[in-house]
Amino acid sequence: MDFELLIGIFPQVLLDGLILGFMYALIALGSTMVYGVLEFINFAHSEIFIVGAFVGVEILLSLQSAGLLERVPWVLVLLTILLAGMVVSGLLAVTIERVAYRPLRGAPRLIPLISAIGVSFFLQDALRLIESIWRNAFNLVYPTIDVLNERFELTSTIDISVKSLVVIASALLVLWGLHALVNRTKIGTAIRAVAEDQAAASLMGINVNRIISLTFLIGGAMGGAAGVLFGVQYGLINPYSGFIPGLKAFTAAVLGGIGNVPGAMMGGLVLGLLEAFAASYLSLLTGGAFGAEYKDIFAFSILILILIFRPKGLLGEVVRERA
């Protein structure tokens, strides 16, 4: 075994894992907030996420065809697509809740879950339909912005691109914003109150329905931001590419303790790192017998193991059984 190589790639793998981890953390926040408030797995969150990515690519492509992409400062472009993705995804999440989840509130537990799966599938093909009619293509590539692809050499073996820095910085900013919102504002207090006990919250004069909508708005916006960053970082998107990241983000949320906001961040980072290491080291360590393809199995196995042995997650939010 080549130890030099194993150690040599370590920092780069660490970096890739961190970026992936922040991505998962951002997506996971949306699902974990909704779970915290409604105790329900929002399966359609993967599509809310990928819709954000599509909003971003559509804006970039229009700018490009108008010849403006090179002339507008890239920071402005980036802020615009982030904001647009957040708004569209947030509103989409609110609409989904209103149409497909609210009529089912109070029904047996599996009913809204099945509805959510339905929404997820419906949105995938709806997105495909729209893009097929609009662009006659549904596999879209983010146009490159040259500045973002510049790379800094940290050492001779490790480098980091501007876009990775942007991803990490925006993720940190959004995470900090959410943390402040949930813990320091009145709205955040109301959200936590509804999560704790809907009946008591409504007796205290909190409009539960509005808070739930708001939770979906915030969670959806986080998903949209993650979608745009995903597109910027990895480039190629299609209507179905939200599913696996969405599922992994849910894994991250469970890993950190579902319903728990700091837990989702930590779970995302842990999962991202584990996956990056699995992808790079698995084939090196097993002499090529098991390659990077197994990283998905790795993530799902973690999910299964955590759910079986420590369903509370690593940070131990107590999840109570609702009859």
Binding site: I41, A100, P103, L104, R105, G106, A107, P108, R109, L110, I111, P112, L113, I114, S115, I117, G118, V119, S120, F121, F122, L123, Q124, D125, A126, R128, L129, S132, I133, R135, N136, A137, F138, D197, Q198, A199, A200, S202, V208, F243, L247, F250, A289, F290, G291, E293, Y294, D296, I297, F300, S301, L303, I304, L307, I308, P311, R320, E321, R322, A323
Partner: protein, 409 residues
Amino acid sequence: MIHGVASVAAVAASAVLVAVFPRSILAFLAFQASLLFVYTTRIPSWLRGGLLGVALLVLMPLIGFYNGYYLEIATQVGIFVALALGLNIVVGLAGLLDLGYVAFFAVGAYSWAIVGSPHGNEVFGGGFPLGPAWFYAFLIVGLVVAAVTGVLLGLPVLRLRGDYLAIVTLGFGEVIRVLANNLDKPINFTNGPKGITPIGRPPVPFGLPYAEAFYFLVLLIVIVVILVNRRLEDSHIGRAWEAVREDELAAQAMGVPLVRTKLLAFACGASFAGVMGVVFSAKQVFINPESFTFLESIGVLAMVILGGMGSIPGAVLGATVVTVLNLQVLKGLSLWLNELKNAGVTVLGFSLADLPTQLEPAKYERMVFGMILVLMMIFRPQGIFPARRRQRELAAPAAGPTAPPGAGR
């Protein structure tokens, strides 16, 4: 009396219609609708049984001679009916949401595919493929292997709550698919994404053509599955399943062993899928991991939901409707649209030839599944043909978990 005459007339007329217009999708849809009419209308049960028997045993194979694709559709419907009935036990009766059900189908399919094709030599050395007669033995092997897989999966996870169980089964389904995709090294079990071919077909009695033979085989298995399902439903086990679905705590207090009951549900559901997997791999001659995706699992779930969870006629109807929608209606729409495009038809001054080429109605099965799931959950959660007990439960939801919000937390 009038109903009886109408039923006979409907079946006869639609069969003639199919014979006269063998390429018309509408004619075949009419034939299917006539069967539904026969099933639901008020006629003596001997007439109903007779008509359905004649239609399925005589008319359908005859239609197959006019248009082989219809027989293919009927066979596919049969396969999915068996899958839906299997999932119906797990989701409908026992109330365990299994999102990775197609994994068991895959296990069955691969178990015959590996030994029934020359690929077996790569795994076990020489002596493969096994003779075609082994196929019938492998119907049992597929059943057992799938059931064992079900138990192995079930043992650790069945203590989990409903929605966590759903996610774990989803993960398991994905794990099986990724394994099928990648187990071509270090030992080549599945031949990876390239899939396995040619898979041996069983020997056929009476010199029937293969299409007809598979149709009858699938029909036979479906009938057996329906009989088993009906006997199970009212048995000791079936009642235990429903008790667990309604209230685990109460069921346990009444002496129902929770884990064993759930394991049985998993194993029973899985075994149906395993048998059909074996048939599927032989019928297709070629399988690869693409046939066993999450999409298929959700498709089968949509069938069960559409028909009505826990209802046997519901599962049959759901499987038929969804399969026909996918294979017949969506594909038909695609073909029709293409013909219109090629003919240069214009609608309201818009030339259809200018429609985007990526727009293929046949590719939108997810949309169909999604709409079925959402609409059924919102407007008719008990399904089209509800199970009697389920109907009562969902008709009066006020007493249940709705009472005070946040109750029982």
